[in-house]
Symmetry: C2
Subunit: 89 residues, 2 copies
């Protein structure tokens, strides 16, 4: 599959996302991007590390990008940090 798969990290337990990633890699995907914003960034790193160390030892980080996104909230615009972790094998 040529399309790049993206996992958005939200409020579910880390292991849910890990299992989604492992499932996608087992379906012959070569690259998966984990995206998170704000406090979910720590969880995104946990998810990537658990995937790499416990499930798919052949997976590497091909890139980690940090950025800032503008989010529309109830009290106007605010800036929030974001992370993009690209896993590949």
């Amino acid at each position: 599959m040529a399309e790049q798969n993206i996992i958005y990290v939200g409020k579910k337990p880390a292991m849910n996302y890990v299992l989604a990633i492992v499932t996608q890699f087992n379906n012959n995907v070569d690259h998966i991007t984990i995206k998170a914003r704000g406090k979910a960034i720590s969880k995104a790193v946990d998810i990537a590390e658990i995937t790499k160390h416990k499930f798919l030892k052949e997976v590497k980080y091909s890139r980690v990008n940090l950025d800032t996104e503008v989010v529309q909230g109830e009290r106007g615009e605010s800036n929030v940090s974001s992370i993009e972790i690209i896993l590949s094998r």
Copy 2:
């Protein structure tokens, strides 16, 4: 200065660390490494992004490393994710 400067992110407000980084860059340091573990990882990304976008626009990410560290706690060993963000100009 040849030595590589390291900022460990803990419980202080993000802006304290940002100001420490800006001060070091103003003292002719070329590289600063921001290190954080666990939930402080999100704050480390905030610190890096605030430094880059609000204070030192010429600073770049020369590398972002993710890893897992083993921590000794009261209830034995546990794994914690870590991040290392290397800023340079």
